[in-house]
């Protein structure tokens, strides 16, 4: 029989009824739900929903943090052949209107008062939404909204309804097939309305299984579910793969206790976006600053050893005996305790994805013995497209195509994917579907990249932003602005960077220094400065930035395809790029085109070969007033490295 999520659940309940399925910390103690108990709960919620009028293909929105009963609710909807739609719990009420009306949602199961209030707020605009149930009744006792009831009541009514219908759950589960729709995920569109990505049981399970086989995941894994369940990544780690493998998903007590819960659980399979790893590292660094001198010395000494031999050991490469012993001592004194403090001592497989991760950050975790890897995928591909094998993890690639995944890269560098995990369509949006799904079954990712010598995929930018150099020695070479900018931004001294080069003879960049990091750096050197603009134009600071730029160039030169993207000239901006001035988006992405217009005179100066340029810029202050900042900016030439062509 083809696998569906409810079938997988029943299978676990049959084969290993007392094994833990979910845990949640309640009143300070981890409470376990076994597979048997889960199946019972799912049956009761499903029966309750059926009695409340839910039919095949109806839609149920699930809004809340990771809570066992919300996961059970998603399974319950699937039992009925209805479709759960997890939505982001931190969205404001207005953002719910589009998905609810677009998918004509009639039912909602939400976490608490906060979410109930949002449902009530949008109800006038969402006429289909008839029934709302809530998991946590706190503060809701006096709500007299029609159609609103506690989840307990739904479970209760389901239990009563089931009493006279033995075997109902198994029959209902048997009626749902693998090609029925399993879930819809709304992607947060930065422009326009979000799109509902429709996935079947088959696509989600195929992708989840392929990745689980790749990493040899078993039913003994422990996972901490702490990211929004509406994001397909979390939904894969704590739902699709959970049911495919039968491991334990742990729900933290609250969003603010995640670090404590991480320590309690010690997950073996862990996912975090780069910013979480960055946050953890910052905590370690700050605490080490306060440590006593001998501890600081030990930490610095052994971290240097780890950087030198740690990644090699993890990759299974040959390491000399002396280094091995040195590293083993470090393991005992520093790395082991550090992993334990981070709550990562049992991690067997850790992933990061979503944005580029800095090489230093990536190496830090690998060097202390955490098997951190990268993956590539999107909501439309049910997450897994490329994954790094344990011994081939690199900071600048995203790994090899997973089994069953085909990649095609067109002449513009855009990546196309064909796999079992592709979306069926965007819900009620045939135009958008036609844009991304080709007639012969390829999915257009919108990302640009290429395969390196080892067959690893390297993502460089969004396809629409990739340009070509025109004229000059590198005529026609590929230019990926974000790739270059990210490389610069990995340096702590660089806050933002904007690179230009499309249809130009060479690449030039404008750099924003990180005021805090460079300010600290200057203080340590007794370098006096009057403010941001002054600091930015100090010759020492410009040298510091030049050093960063040249390191990036050296790095780019190593890459055959991107050697032409080396930065030939740069300047350091006199003001921070700011979302209030329209230079960044609210999510802090640089608006390259807008900046080019606003600083036209600077861009012209960069390409005209001038060595300085005077500029005046209007700025908006935080209190709403506006003013002008003016500065004479130095423009610096940098060293370009010859491309190191790889021997065939």
């Amino acid at each position: 029989m083809q696998a569906t999520f409810p079938r997988l659940m029943l299978d676990h309940a049959r084969r290993r009824p007392e094994a833990p399925a979910l845990r949640e910390k309640h009143l300070g103690i981890w409470q376990t739900t076994s597979w048997r108990a889960l199946a019972t709960l799912v049956g009761e919620i499903a029966a309750g929903l059926a009695e409340a009028g839910m039919r095949r293909d109806d839609h149920l929105i699930v809004v809340g943090e990771n809570r066992p009963r919300l996961y059970a609710a998603m399974l319950a909807a699937q039992v009925l052949g209805a479709v759960p739609i997890p939505l982001y719990q931190d969205a404001v009420a207005d953002e719910f209107v589009f998905p609810i009306t677009n998918a004509e949602v009639g039912f909602a199961i939400v976490e608490d008062q906060e979410q109930v209030d949002k449902m009530i707020e949008v109800r006038g605009r969402c006429t289909h939404l008839g029934r709302v149930w809530y998991d946590d009744p706190r503060g809701l006792r006096h709500y007299a909204e029609p159609g609103l009831a506690p989840l307990d009541a739904l479970v209760e009514s389901g239990r009563a309804w089931l009493a006279s219908r033995p075997g109902w759950l198994e029959d209902a589960v048997a009626e749902v097939g693998a090609d029925d729709v399993a879930a819809i995920f709304f992607t947060s569109g930065t422009t326009g309305n979000p799109k509902g990505v429709v996935h079947t049981h088959r696509s989600l399970i195929a992708s989840a299984r392929a990745a689980a086989d790749f990493d040899r995941l078993t039913d003994a894994e422990e996972v901490l579910a702490y990211l929004p369940p509406a994001w397909i990544g979390q939904n894969t780690f704590s739902y699709a793969q959970w049911l495919a493998c039968g491991y334990v998903v742990n729900c933290p007590e609250s969003a603010s206790t995640v670090n404590i819960d991480l320590n309690d659980i010690g997950p073996t399979y862990y996912f975090a976006p780069p910013r979480v790893f960055e946050g953890l590292l910052t905590t370690v660094t700050i605490r080490m600053e306060d440590a006593s001198a001998p501890k600081k010395w030990l930490f610095r000494h052994f971290m240097a050893v780890a950087r030198r031999v740690g990644p090699a050991l993890l990759d299974g490469r040959r390491v000399g005996l002396a280094d091995r012993l040195h590293h083993a001592l470090g393991q005992l004194l520093i790395y082991g305790p550090l992993r334990n403090t981070l709550g990562l001592s049992r991690v067997r497989v850790a992933y990061t994805a979503g944005e580029a991760i800095g090489p230093d950050l990536f190496t830090f975790y690998r060097s202390i013995g955490i098997n951190l890897k990268q993956l590539y995928g999107s909501t439309e591909t049910a997450v897994f497209v490329c994954v790094q094998p344990d011994d081939e993890a690199r900071a600048d690639t995203v790994g090899l195509p997973l089994k069953g995944v085909e990649l095609r890269i067109d002449d513009r560098g855009e990546i196309f994917v064909k796999s079992h995990g592709l979306l069926r369509e965007y819900y009620r949006n045939p135009e958008a579907t036609a844009e991304v799904l080709t007639a012969d079954g390829w999915f257009r990712t919108g990302d640009a990249g290429f395969l390196d010598a080892g067959g690893h995929l390297k993502i460089i930018d969004r396809a629409k932003d990739v340009g070509r150099l025109a004229g000059g020695p590198d005529d026609g070479a590929m230019f990926a602005p974000k790739y270059v900018e990210n490389k610069l931004k990995f340096f702590p001294y660089v806050k933002e960077a904007v690179a230009y080069g499309d249809r130009r003879a060479s690449v030039c960049a404008m750099v924003n220094i990180d005021f805090e990091a460079v300010g600290n750096w200057a203080e340590k050197r007794n370098l006096a400065y009057a403010g941001y603009a002054d600091l930015a134009q100090k010759p020492e600071v410009i040298e510091l930035v030049r050093d960063c730029v040249e390191k990036v160039n050296a790095d780019l030169a190593r890459d055959d395809k991107l050697a032409g993207s080396q930065i030939s000239r740069f300047l350091v901006l006199h003001k921070e790029l700011d979302a209030d001035d329209g230079e960044l988006t609210r999510t802090r992405k640089v608006r390259r085109g807008f900046i080019a217009e606003r600083y036209q005179v600077l861009v012209d100066a960069l390409y005209a070969g001038l060595d300085h340029q005077y500029v005046e810029t209007p700025v908006k202050f935080e209190d709403g007033r506006s003013g002008m900042v003016a500065a004479d900016l130095k423009i610096v030439d940098t060293k370009i490295f010859p491309a190191l062509r790889k021997a065939a």
Binding site: L27, G28, R138, G139, R141, H142, S254, S256, T257
Partner: protein
């Protein structure tokens, strides 16, 4: 535990209380009552006698004149332990927490009256004592959950921010499962967000558990928003008593408090 919040009969009746320290008259001839399930505020400028009034109610000070009746029993002066056993708890204006102890242990001390085991049994922590501690701990955990301080369970109180310490102080008072709770300036020194949080906890507490609350507060905005009735003191005298809207319009109150600066 849930009770429908309905303001009931008088539970605490303060009659003609006068208190003086030597020649200083802190309170003169104060009378007011508190009804079941209500939020009753005592306001007034600095030195008006608000804290002295609270101290009379829970037996820290002995008033020279007047009587206090609590749930039908009349006292010339209250005795602290007796008061606690009758279900009256309080928090302190200047936080009397054990700074070196964890949040959990601090709140646990509030359960002391509920423990049956003696010191020796507790020290050995075996059998009955262990079972009792587990049961008490469950109650404490409910309070931690209610006040949303789960991340700080094991943090020494001294390391927490002032706003959180205030919350722990409230938690310890709640651990006594009081039927009447006295709050001494629960929002003093807090920022706007912390004040909003605390207001919500006070309202939830009153709503979910039906706890009667007497609170002293300086922040007029907060008081007017959350209390059912307000007593206004000035230089130890009562100058106003009634619903927030009435009090707000009372000319005596305006001149004594709202209209002048202190």
């Amino acid at each position: 535990m849930a009770t429908d919040r309905k303001i009931g009969d008088v539970v605490l009746d303060v009659r003609n209380i006068s208190l003086s320290f030597g020649g200083v008259k802190a309170l003169s001839d104060i009378s007011f009552d508190v009804r079941e399930h209500e939020i009753r505020a005592i306001i007034g400028p600095n030195g008006a006698g608000k804290s002295s009034m609270l101290n009379c109610i829970n037996g820290v000070y002995m008033p020279q004149e007047g009587a206090i009746s609590f749930r039908g029993r009349t006292f010339m002066h209250m005795n602290s332990r007796q008061v606690a056993e009758m279900g009256l708890a309080r928090t302190f204006q200047n936080l009397a927490l054990f700074k070196g102890m964890s949040v959990l242990d601090n709140i646990m001390t509030g359960r002391n009256l509920k423990m049956k085991c003696n010191l020796f049994q507790q020290a050995i922590r075996w059998g009955a004592a262990e079972r009792e501690e587990c049961a008490q701990r469950e109650q404490v955990e409910r309070i931690i959950d209610f006040l949303e301080i789960q991340p700080y369970r094991k943090t020494p109180v001294g390391r927490l921010s002032y706003g959180l310490q205030k919350r722990v102080d409230l938690g310890r008072a709640l651990a006594m499962e009081p039927s009447l709770l006295l709050l001494d300036e629960p929002m003093a020194g807090m920022n706007v967000e912390e004040k909003q949080d605390m207001s919500r906890f006070i309202l939830d507490l009153n709503d979910e558990f039906g706890t009667t609350i007497v609170l002293i507060e300086h922040d007029m905005g907060v008081v007017m928003d959350i209390s059912d009735r307000v007593v206004v003191l000035d230089y130890g005298r009562k100058i106003g008593d009634g619903a927030p809207d009435e009090v707000r319009l009372d000319p005596d109150v305006i001149s004594a408090y709202l209209g002048t600066t202190h």
